[in-house]
């Protein structure tokens, strides 16, 4: 296995952890938010360094230089590969922009210590290849939101119920899987257990109630940070995808598409912005999951591209809503709030991120959506139609939310409504990535395609996946009929 030139992975995971200690030592000082921003920025720089180093090596996977954990545990715990290399800076960026867009007045409610611990756990999760360790991290990452709910004296039943089931199914399923013959049909039950665990974590219908409940009860920032990196999709990719038979994956893909259409429709009728965002997110993340489960190189490439797009655009969409909510409290969508005049920049950004999320041309989501549709139709044409319908519903929702929040008769306010410098920087960073990724998509797509091929290869090399090979070949084959942009 190749080696990075610097221990990027472990240091990037350690920095937020040490940052938590540092913030604990600082106590309740006024500039604590600035320190948190600095720690998140450093983490982002380290993950970008890791990505650049990894790309320069040109290998499928690489581990750290001077392995500290290797020395302690005598095994490679953290490894970066093509599937996670882009996800790590994305996670760090999501945390940075969310912390940057936190108003100082809201900082006491939004626990920066728990946020940094969450970042550490997320980065560790996305860097982890060992399945048992991954399961442990997936379970551990559910703790910070729980602590916040407890701290806010909110009911935790729904969250705990779902997460406990998911947390119980993961080790049971994987333990069972390790104990049975992987070429026999006996893997179906542990495979199903792992699948259900991952679906619960991803909020796939009908296991999505915890997600809406979390958005209701946790701080908006925590809800965004817990959901937008798509940890559930990562669990599916690492734990379920290699072992599940094709028919099972296609069934899950159909379930994901039902979720996409259902959540898109539900988003349209919501009367409050957070719930609307939650359903919009569920719809788009379900599309990512649907793409992952298609297991064709094109579909997987689309899903991986869409993953980045959802991470960037819906984080942007979410932090804009959060900025507005921080100023006017919960945003009702039965009203026209007329905020355009007071915050034109945030209005533009809201529209841009919303359109990027639905795959509007020249934004980062466009090519991902096209590839996803292409991959979906290769498996079953009806699936492609469902993707289009889900995207159409989400598109109507986005513009409707824009009109409700930013248009209508403006009302005078006593608090300043314009974007603060930190918010502007966060917004501009995301804007550059959304437009840059949309206008020059080839490097990202090529890299994601390479990762998708490797994922397909890993799946094919799994002993019990003879039928999976056939499906993958069908999707990858030169004889497959094309859709959006395939030519012979």
């Amino acid at each position: 296995m190749s080696e990075l030139h610097f221990p990027w992975i472990e240091i990037s995971i350690l920095v937020p952890l040490l940052g938590t200690v540092w913030i604990q030592l600082l106590g309740d000082r006024e500039n604590i938010l600035r320190h948190a921003i600095a720690i998140c920025s450093l983490t982002l720089v380290l993950t970008i360094g890791e990505l650049i180093d990894f790309v320069s090596i040109g290998s499928f996977e690489a581990h750290d230089h001077w392995l500290l954990l290797d020395w302690l545990f005598h095994r490679d715990v953290f490894v970066v590969d093509e599937l996670s290399a882009f996800q790590l800076p994305l996670v760090a960026l999501i945390f940075l922009v969310t912390v940057m867009s936190t108003l100082r007045t809201k900082a006491p409610r939004f626990s920066l210590k728990l946020t940094l611990i969450s970042e550490c756990l997320m980065l560790a999760t996305f860097s982890c290849r060992s399945s048992w360790m991954l399961i442990a991290l997936l379970i551990a990452s559910t703790v910070p939101p729980y602590l916040e709910l407890r701290k806010r004296k909110r009911c935790t039943r729904i969250y705990v119920l779902h997460m406990a089931i998911s947390a119980a199914l993961l080790p049971v399923g994987y333990g069972w899987l390790s104990a049975v013959d992987q070429t026999s049909s006996a893997i179906l039950i542990p495979g199903a257990l792992l699948t259900v665990a991952a679906l619960i974590r991803s909020g796939i219908f009908p296991f999505h109630l915890w997600m809406t409940d979390l958005f209701e009860k946790a701080t908006f920032g925590t809800a965004i940070l817990f959901s937008t990196p798509l940890v559930g999709a990562y669990a599916v990719m690492r734990l379920v995808l290699p072992i599940a038979p094709s028919w099972a994956l296609q069934s899950i893909a159909v379930l994901s598409l039902v979720t996409a259409v259902y959540a898109g429709s539900m988003a349209l009728i919501q009367r409050e912005a957070r719930r609307m965002f939650c359903f919009l997110f569920l719809s788009q993340s379900a599309l990512v999951l649907a793409g992952l489960e298609l297991v064709t190189p094109i579909g997987l490439t689309g899903a991986l591209c869409l993953w980045l797009s959802v991470g960037l655009s819906l984080t942007g969409f979410g932090i804009t809503l959060r900025c507005i909510e921080a100023r006017i409290s919960r945003v009702a969508l039965a009203d026209y709030h007329g905020l355009y005049r007071q915050m034109p920049m945030l209005a533009g950004f809201f529209l841009l991120t919303g359109l990027a999320a639905i795959g509007f041309p020249a934004t980062v989501g466009f090519v991902g959506m096209e590839l996803l549709i292409e991959g979906a139709v290769d498996v079953y044409p009806f699936v492609g139609t469902m993707v289009v319908i889900a995207a159409a519903l989400c598109g109507i929702t986005v513009l409707s939310a824009y009109f409700r929040i930013f248009t209508g008769h403006p009302t005078r306010t006593v608090v300043p409504m314009h974007a603060r410098p930190a918010e502007r920087i966060a917004v501009l960073m995301l804007t550059l990535l959304i437009l840059g990724g949309g206008l020059v998509p080839q490097p990202g797509v090529a890299s994601r395609y390479h990762a998708a091929k490797e994922l397909t290869r890993l799946r094919q090399s799994y002993p019990g996946n003879a039928d999976g090979n056939v499906a993958a070949e069908k999707g990858a084959g030169t004889n497959g009929t094309g859709l959006v942009s395939r030519r012979r």
Binding site: Y336, V367, V377, V388, Q442
Partner: protein
């Protein structure tokens, strides 16, 4: 590549790049909150329109001089996965359909740009108008010249978004905004139909460019590379897409609502260009229509129904812009009939003539009313108004029904609301209620803090 091809490539790229640059400049200044002055915006717009129009004229002159009838402009692959034979090909074409439509777009955009410079002078949303205008212009140029379904779709989406935002231009009032939302919803449905049609076509033919879809010849001489039943399936979806975009029956309800936007945008978008985009799509893919007799009959029927509805509705409106909008619908319906009958050149000429006339009428409408008012004041009486002679042949009951049908705008919005929107909303509200009960039961308490958000719902009953 010979010198002529290099010249074509250069001129064609200029035509395409010019609106994109305008959009980038206006968009960037808006995004970083550094507004440009009115005169700068106007000059940039004029420059962009001229930089699209003049090279197009040169291309046309060379084509006429040399007898070349088809000039493809290849800008390479935007995205490419060679192993999967996946290419997002940026290919555009100057042919007998795209050149007239492109020139029409440039001329009308130029006229309206010049008109708007004074019409919206010192308006707060001046920059916003020209940003949406640039997006529309860019979308029109891309749609006109597109040689692949994907490129056409990109332009189509840009036109849709800019149209919806411009309808909601006067966004301090809720009615224009609500109408903008209505336009966008119809457009999204038509976009979905278009995309599904494109997917199906690719699935059937494995090709994305129009040359591939039409197995032989260039427009208008191509023959569809699919069977009659396949053409019916794809064509039906395209018909839905075109009906949504061109406000044909039963989607006509958005057209009068679109008149809430500023007069220049109403003139150019909904009176002239945008409303013809559906007809343009049918023209571009006319070989598919010709492949199926059933589809042709569907196209002709849709055109006739839309024209008749538009004719009835335009006669009883009490607003000049709305009346003109429905008059446009009548003409678009007739254009669709012409396409269904295979009279492609006539349809193209009809589009150009009608778009120019309607732009002039809509731009002139506000001052015309003032002139009429002045004239009536001077002569001290109302000007005589001729009623339609044909109406007298109808029985009074039918006359009343026609009046009611026209006045209520064909009951189309009411029908869509009653049969599509309300069942949808009712079903998902029920789902929402089920979710609420489930989360309440699991939490053993009221689980929705969002209920505490202060709601001040507007009175929807009084909405137009």
């Amino acid at each position: 590549m010979n010198p002529l091809e290099v010249l074509f490539q250069f001129l064609g790229t200029t035509v395409l790049a010019s609106p994109a640059v305008l959009l980038a400049v206006l968009g960037l200044s808006s995004l970083i909150n550094r507004p440009l002055s009115e005169s700068t915006i106007a000059r940039l717009t004029q420059g962009a329109v001229l930089c699209s129009l003049l090279p197009a004229i040169v291309i046309l002159a060379i084509m006429l001089g040399t007898g070349i009838r088809h000039v493809p402009i290849e800008l390479g692959n935007w995205v490419m996965l060679p192993e999967e034979q996946f290419h997002f090909h940026l290919k555009f074409v100057f042919d007998r359909l795209s050149i007239p439509f492109l020139m029409l777009s440039c001329v009308l955009c130029g006229v309206v740009g010049a008109f708007t410079r004074r019409y919206l002078h010192r308006e707060e949303g001046y920059g916003r108008f020209f940003l949406y205008y640039a997006m529309f212009f860019c979308g029109m140029v891309l749609s006109s010249l597109a040689s692949t379904i994907e490129a056409l779709f990109v332009g189509w989406e840009m036109v849709g978004l800019s149209s919806a935002l411009l309808v909601a231009y006067f966004h301090d009032r809720t009615n224009p905004v609500r109408n903008g939302q209505r336009v966008w919803s119809i457009y999204r449905l038509s976009d979905a139909a278009f995309l599904i049609a494109a997917i199906t076509m690719h699935h059937l033919t494995g090709r994305g460019d129009f040359g591939g879809l039409m197995s032989s010849g260039i427009w208008p001489e191509g023959t569809a590379a699919i069977t009659s039943s396949q053409a019916l399936m794809v064509g039906s979806l395209l018909l839905v897409a075109a009906a949504g975009k061109s406000a044909l029956f039963p989607f006509s309800g958005w057209l009068p609502r679109a008149m809430e936007g500023p007069t220049p945008s109403s003139a150019i978008f909904y009176g002239a260009l945008s409303v013809h985009l559906g007809a343009f799509l049918l023209l571009r893919l006319s070989p598919i229509i010709e492949a199926s007799l059933t589809l042709r009959l569907m196209v002709i029927t849709l055109g006739i129904v839309s024209a008749v509805c538009g004719g009835i509705m335009s006669r009883v409106q009490n607003d000049v812009k709305v009346s003109l909008a429905y008059a446009s619908l009548t003409q678009v319906g007739i254009i669709v009939v012409e396409i269904g009958l295979g009279m492609k050149y006539l349809a193209l000429i009809h589009i150009m003539g009608h778009a120019s006339l309607r732009t002039m009428q809509l731009l002139r409408a506000p001052t015309l009313l003032r002139d009429y008012s002045d004239l009536e004041n001077k002569i001290g009486t109302r000007l005589p108004r001729d009623s339609w002679v044909g109406a007298s042949f109808l029985p009074p009951r039918a006359q009343r029904w026609c009046y009611r049908f026209g006045f209520e705008r064909g009951f189309m919005d009411i029908a869509l609301d009653k049969w599509v929107v309300q069942p949808f909303v009712r079903f998902f509200r029920w789902c929402d209620a089920v979710e609420r009960r489930a989360t309440d039961a699991l939490s053993n308490e009221a689980s929705r803090e969002s209920d505490q958000a202060e709601l001040h719902p507007e009175d929807f009953k009084s909405a137009a």
